[in-house]
Amino acid sequence: MTLVALGVALILLAGLAAVALAPRPAAGETLFRILFGAGCIAGALPALSVLSGATVPDLRLVPVTPFGPWVFGLDALSAVFLFTVLSVGAACAYYGLAYLAHERGHRAVAIAHLLLAVLVAALALTVVARAALPFLIAWEVMAVAAYLLVVLEHERREVRRAGMIYVVATHVGTLLLFALFAIWAGGTSDLSFSALAAHAPFSGARGGTILAVALIAFGLKAGAVPFHFWLPEAHAAAPAHVSALMSGVVIKMGIYGLLRTLVLFGAPPPWWGWLVLALGAVSGVLGVVWALAQHDIKRLLAFHSVENVGIILLGIGAGALGIAYGHPLIAVLGFAGAALHTLNHALFKSLLFLGAGSVIHATGTREIDRLGGLARRMPGTAATFLVGAAAIVGLPPLNGFVSEWVVYQALLRGASAGGVIQLTGLAAVVLAFIGALALACFVKVVGVLYLGTPRHALSTEPREAEPALIRPLVALAAACGAIGLVPVVVVPSALRVGSLVAGAAAGGLQVDAGAGPATAFTVGLAVSLLLGWGAYAVLGRGRERLEAGTWSCGYPTPTPRMAYTASSFAAPLLSVFRSFTGVRTHRSAEAFSTHASDPVLDGVLVPAWRGARTAATWVRQVQRGGLSVYLLLVGAAVVVSLLYLVVAGRHP
């Protein structure tokens, strides 16, 4: 734990160094890079050792802390999240240095670096906190730092709106967390997690209330449908490296919270497992369908975070059902799949957001329908983005496949277990549906963004991003490939997390998910692809190769405007889901486009807010500002109180 504390201190120091040396940005950013990197390594090392089976002593701040001792600890669950925070945090911070460099003239860039350091430090503290108060403090610092980073480009109106929606949503979540800990502690003053765990198991409605409140509070942070409404707004408004960190890591704190709740709570009732499973299925399908309808690259990627949170929730739901119905194997596999998918999604989603950032940087637009053919201009960005796209779709031999395979195993074992839990087989079908739709969506993104021809003339010729912007992408893509290639190394660690969350229900069960033979498969596939490509290259040598225009079935003068757009590409699928996606189609003689609105935000919350405001203007009539009115009101209040006492039969 000392190393983790040192790491957090170094990261904060890095941020302070960037601000202190703001007048000399080159020196400040070099120092930032060194300190931040050292901090991340210092924190990640103990996380890795815990994931490989070691234990680390807790850190306790006892005498002067309010609400019980402040404990910080690192178990396998904390470790997988800590590793995610630090690895993705480092990639985003390094990218951010180069990404914001050209804005040094007109923006307080150093402050942004400090805020990012604070955000990463707060995330790290959130996952190692073992008492409610430090957890809530870290949670709130995280939320505020993220808000300030979202509104970095506050001169734009939509950024301010997104920031406002985000800050309201996150504070509703925080309030619910206060309620959660208050109900849980039940009036006792010791709020350390070990004391909370001692309250379990609960009798009556209290346990159910705790789990329901936890699901809403953490679901709000994770962005599960119907609590997703803030997510695409905020993630699209933030600068690329902040979007990457938020979509990759910050929303995962909701997942961490759910899993930590389960660790402390013990066995959940079946209804909770089914509810989580249903939320996962709905989030997964709606997330990817809404993503299909988006043509703003960052909003599209943000909706894919909703989808992937859905996949993670499917894992958690299967795990909870495994505990509830007494199938330890399903429990361990479900939680393990959820934990592994959390790490994997953080890696490929940040990769995709950073790649999208480079494209926006180079072209000045987020509308994918305006772009095209960027693979020729930006080969490095395109290749890494392609790896990220294949990974998020869950294609072998990349990391998304490995974690989805573990989740599938949990669901399929549920299907063949016997009893009510067999219904989890339907969730496996939903997962297949999500995967196939995600493939459609990322074919659209990669195809329209990087392949083909540009669909509009851009004001400036797009150029490949500078090496400092590509290096983080290559590192993240390499991580996606590495995890995909060696499930035998990562799956046992994930299973360790799964056993921890399953707790007593796992009963020390040794789970073999078949990662060894799976590794033979993934490595074999990768080698076969390389050999196939090699054979193709060797056999193709010396053959005649002609270059020509694309064959357009005889049409002599194809123009870029005829190129297939993202709207057209997604149209057949969206027409199937038309009734519940809020997608509108605009057709004219020469153009076709689709437009998506969010049913929860635009359909429910905004009207509700308007209604509240109208009601408020009516109430405002009372506040006229004249002293006589207030005196009248005071008098009326006294009379009403007296009347109440008389009616209630009690004399003053």
Binding site: G373, A415, F521, W551, P558, Y564
Partner: protein
């Protein structure tokens, strides 16, 4: 890996290009034409492999990599299937997910290659291909779940190997439904009537053929061979359910495999002559129907 598995895979590789030929010949004979020879595709492949290739100036390495990725993923997928009816060369828990993943990887590469040309025709085909696949993949998984329930095994080798043969007497109804569902998926995944018409002459109505419009020479040969091989793989799936061969001697099992693949190809030809292509908006309904059959099969197995 035993000898019979290797021989079975070899047979699969050799007979694959005959399957589209048999289907086409059946269709021709049923409609009163003579049609091209059954072995036409072998001649086409030899001709294409001897040629050079023309590449569009718009394309990148993605376009060139696609044929290789398609073929390699199909070959690796074949390793997961018990082609000889007993044991697959490679198996692991949950490899049915890997099988679906490999098909998806091949599709991902092929569809991106289509979009790489920048032509609207390829875009059209790509869009339709992923739309149909979005409904075919859950249906395929439902079939697999039904088989998991019937056999209690989480790998394709067990689901289609000897445990399945033992399950026929008690789960015949479920297995028949799964087999029919798999046959519909065979038609959909391999772009046959009623989902796609391989013999159509108008690019606007095509799905698979229009994605590979710009491929030529050896690239086209790889893709044509890949399509035939994919049809054969699905044929093996359907045969695995309907004709379990676990208890037979190796020569008998292999002979039954070849004969069975021929019957599947004839069945494809008969379907093609008996009905017309569905409207594109009806295709998801067909696939949901196939999924519903597999769902019934699953429900029958719920204890």
């Amino acid at each position: 890996m035993s000898g019979s598995e290797l021989i079975a895979l070899g047979i699969l590789g050799v007979v694959a290009p005959a399957l589209p030929g048999i289907a086409g010949k059946t269709k021709s004979l049923l409609t009163g034409r003579r049609g091209p020879p059954v072995l036409q595709l072998y001649a086409d492949l030899r001709k294409l492999l001897g040629k050079g290739a023309v590449y569009s100036r718009t394309t990148t390495w993605v376009f060139r990599a696609a044929p290789v990725v398609v073929l390699v993923t199909l070959f690796v997928a074949a390793l997961l299937l018990p082609v000889d009816g007993r044991e697959a060369p490679a198996r692991f828990t949950g490899d049915l997910v890997a099988f679906a993943g490999l098909l998806a990887l091949g599709r991902f590469a092929l569809v991106l290659a289509g979009l790489d040309t920048g032509s609207s025709f390829e875009g059209l085909g790509a869009s339709r291909e992923v739309t149909i696949a979005s409904f075919a993949e859950p249906a395929l998984l439902l079939c697999f779940i039904a088989l998991v329930l019937v056999t209690g095994d989480l790998s394709l080798s067990g689901m289609l190997g000897s445990p399945l043969a033992a399950a026929w007497p008690r789960a015949g109804a479920s297995l028949s439904l799964v087999g029919i569902s798999l046959f519909v998926l065979l038609l959909a995944e391999n772009s046959r009537v009623p989902v796609d018409d391989p013999a159509t002459h108008l690019e606007l109505t095509m799905i698979h053929e229009v994605i590979v419009l710009d491929h030529s020479g050896p690239d086209l040969a790889l893709i044509l061979y890949g399509s035939a091989f994919k049809l054969t793989l699905f044929g093996v799936l359907v045969l695995g359910v309907f004709v379990p061969r676990a208890g037979l001697s190796t020569p008998a099992a292999l002979a039954l495999l070849v004969a069975g693949l021929g019957v599947v190809a004839v069945a494809v030809g008969v379907v093609e002559s008996a009905m017309a292509r569905l409207r594109l908006v009806r295709v998801p309904q067909l696939l949901v129907g196939a999924g519903a059959l597999a769902l019934f099969a699953t429900i029958l197995q719920l204890a």
